[in-house]
């Protein structure tokens, strides 16, 4: 019901009324009944007044009838004394407020109750025509009776008082009955329900008991609802507890893993400000102290030289929503000199990033070692053919740095004989010695390689002049031709034939250079060994 006055009354009652349903309901019903009773009594007073008016008028008519005969005589004789007697007698009736007797237009007598000299307002009255006592057809006068307003009021009020008293008694009784009924039907079950709610619930009786007699009504329904709610809550709480335990467990596991792992991990926001990290992160970056929260990753001392690269990675990871990785060498200025890390940055969410750092120094080192192995001759420690190719390619790619160079193709003479007579071990010893000898003949920075069984190559950098290259080649031949004393005390003698080719790196290629040097070396071999031959400088 949203009838406005009722709603207003209810709110008013809720605000001002005592904090008890019984008292509030009783007070409300009492007030309402009182109000209605008063209105009813007022209406009743009006009705009673009207009703009494009509009744009194008929009474006055009877009254007039009793004095009619005397009035006839008074009017017939115009007898004022008799008229006064009649009026005085009539006035003894309380209902009569005034009397007027007149005979044929002449006022015989009139009288009014109280101070009023004449009837005021709209008083009820009756006018009776008086006929001659001897001739019923002849009119001799009129008698007018006025109803007493005071009497009417008093009468109506006395009736109304009775009605009011009865209503008041009824209101009291109904209010008391209401209080009792509300207490029995509403408040008491609610109070019992409240006590039941406060009772500690055990697993033996987890549900609330319905107050007796309320099983099938709204309170029973309420208890059922509360029980449903409690069951639901219990289930929720236990589910929540299980979840929390699981969460704590996995949290602890994660923390353990994070603390124990060798992987450095950290979380940062979109601006690269660090939010959290694990100990391995600090260890791997060899930070002197724990970074402050909010410190920017790229500004950490070990990464300071790579600020731009790291910020780029951050941006790309955020924009492309994919991981970016980079290998970084930590600068020697920090405590992690010579160490390599791999930094990978992975987007976690719209403004969070997960960074992973791990140490790749070992990998870097083994890769470097493998590369070195692949480029060098294990016997002599000199470059092998592949190493030489790489070096030459690098030199030619480098351009103007060494604009001219000379390549010496060195082929040992008589080595096969040494190998055949003294065995491979001696051959190896000779080859090692040859390597050392050639190295001692060239300048530091020049390249020396062993590209075949007894074939060596020396690359002289910046050897602009044929003469200078020839001198070095002659030096090599001189050293190699000198007798060699092996470990076992045996003395051997070998020699070398050398082909020299010169090149401008800008306009030549390593392969062509090699071909020319080889050709020159063959020429040297064929022309008697132990000598240096020069390839034509402008060979195609």
């Amino acid at each position: 019901m949203t009838w406005a006055p009722v709603e207003t009354l209810r709110r008013l009652a809720a605000r001002t009324a005592p904090r008890s349903l019984v008292l509030r309901a009783t007070a409300l019903i009492f007030a309402l009944a009182l109000l209605l009773g008063l209105a009813f009594a007022l209406a009743c007073a009006r009705i009673v007044e009207r009703h009494e008016d009509a009744r009194l008028v008929s009474q006055l008519q009877q009254l007039v009838a009793t004095v009619e005969n005397t009035a006839k005589i008074a009017c017939y004789l115009h007898d004022q004394t008799l008229a006064r007697e009649i009026a005085t007698g009539l006035m003894k009736t309380h209902a009569v407020g005034g009397v007027r007797i007149s005979a044929g237009g002449t006022l015989l007598y009139q009288t009014f109750r109280g101070a009023a000299a004449a009837p005021q307002g709209h008083l009820s009255r009756i006018v009776q025509t008086i006929h001659s006592p001897f001739d019923a057809r002849s009119t001799v006068g009129t008698i007018t009776l006025y109803l007493s307003r005071t009497h009417l009021r008093a009468l109506a009020w006395s009736y109304t008082r009775v009605v009011l008293a009865i209503l008041a008694a009824e209101v009291l009784v109904i209010s008391a009955a209401t209080a009792l009924v509300v207490f029995l039907v509403v408040t008491d079950p609610i109070k019992r329900l409240s006590i039941e709610l406060h009772r500690p619930r055990t697993s033996a009786s987890p549900a609330l008991r319905v107050p007796g007699g309320n099983e099938s009504d709204e309170i029973g329904q309420l208890v059922a609802d509360i029980n449903g709610l409690l069951g639901h809550l219990d289930a929720l709480v236990s589910a929540e507890r299980t979840l929390r335990i699981q969460h704590e467990l996995s949290d602890r596991k994660l923390r353990l893993v994070l603390n124990q792992t060798e992987l450095g991990m950290f979380i940062m926001d979109a601006q690269g400000a660090l939010q959290s990290w694990n100990p391995a992160f600090v260890r791997l970056l060899a930070l002197e102290s724990e970074p402050c929260e909010g410190e920017t990753l790229s500004r950490l001392p070990p990464l300071a030289q790579r600020t731009l690269q790291i910020e780029n990675m951050l941006r790309c990871a955020l924009l492309g929503a994919q991981s970016y990785e980079a290998d970084l060498e930590l600068p020697s200025s920090t405590g992690a000199s010579g160490r390599w890390i791999e930094l990978s940055i992975n987007p976690l969410g719209p403004d969070q990033l997960l960074g992973v750092v791990h140490d790749i120094t070992e990998r870097k080192r083994s890769v470097a070692a493998a590369e070195a192995l692949a480029m060098h001759d294990p016997l002599t420690g000199l470059l092998n053919r592949r190493g030489l190719d790489e070096a030459l390619t690098r030199l030619f790619g480098a351009g103007a740095a060494h604009d001219t160079l000379a390549l010496l193709a060195i082929d040992l003479d008589w080595f096969k004989e040494v190998n055949d007579t003294l065995g491979h071990a001696a051959g190896d010893e000779v080859l090692r010695a040859v390597g050392r000898l050639i190295e001692s003949a060239v300048r530091a920075g020049d390249l020396v390689a062993r590209i075949g069984g007894d074939e060596f190559v020396a690359v002289l950098l910046g050897a602009g002049h044929v003469q200078r290259a020839g001198e070095i080649a002659d030096g090599i031949i001189a050293r190699l031709t000198a007798p060699l004393r092996l470990e076992g005390g045996t003395q051997v003698q070998i020699g070398a034939s050398i082909g020299v080719a010169q090149a401008r790196t800008a306009e030549d290629s390593p392969a062509a250079l090699m071909r020319r040097a080889d050709a020159a070396m063959y020429t040297s071999k064929q022309s008697g060994r132990g000598r240096v031959c020069f390839a034509p400088s402008q060979a195609v």
Binding site: Q59, T66, V67, N69, T81, L82, K92, H94, A95, F134
Partner: protein, 150 residues
């Protein structure tokens, strides 16, 4: 209703037979006539005028001269007269006058002992007016209303 005053009887002496026709009828029926002195110069009176004069309402003759109604004391003629005139019994008439005597404003007609005395009085007094049996009249009076037999 209980509170209403008991009906007031202003004049308990008022006969309840008032207005009802007379029952008693004299054995000897006579013709009654109303007579005045010829000097009064009244030729005729209506029944109503006679009632007014005899019942105290009118104290004058139509000429303006004072009227002196003469009643007969007792006897059948009196009962017949009031019975014929106003259809009242003598008791009612007595009660009527008793009430008016109390107020002091009107008085019953002067009474004489016999019809003869009444005729004599009317003959002597030009203001007198009386009723008598037609048999009792003399030439010295004039009949102004003939009531006739009952």
């Amino acid at each position: 209703m209980r509170r209403l005053p008991v009906m007031l009887l202003l004049l308990p002496a008022l006969p309840n037979a008032l207005g009802t026709p007379a029952r008693a009828r004299p054995a000897a029926e006579q013709d009654l006539v109303v007579i005045v002195n010829p000097a009064a110069h009244v030729a005729h009176l209506t029944r109503s005028q006679v009632i007014d004069i005899f019942m105290g309402r009118l104290r004058q003759l139509p000429t303006g001269a004072p009227a002196l109604p003469i009643d007969l004391s007792g006897g059948a003629a009196r009962a017949q007269f009031y019975g014929q005139l106003v259809h009242w019994s003598l008791a009612q008439v007595g009660s009527y006058w008793a009430r008016l005597v109390f107020s002091g404003q009107a008085s019953p007609p002067f009474r004489v002992q016999s019809a003869h005395a009444a005729v004599q009085l009317v003959a002597d007094n030009p203001n007198a007016i009386a009723y008598v049996p037609r048999t009792a009249i003399s030439p010295r009076v004039r009949i102004v209303l003939d009531l006739g037999p009952r």
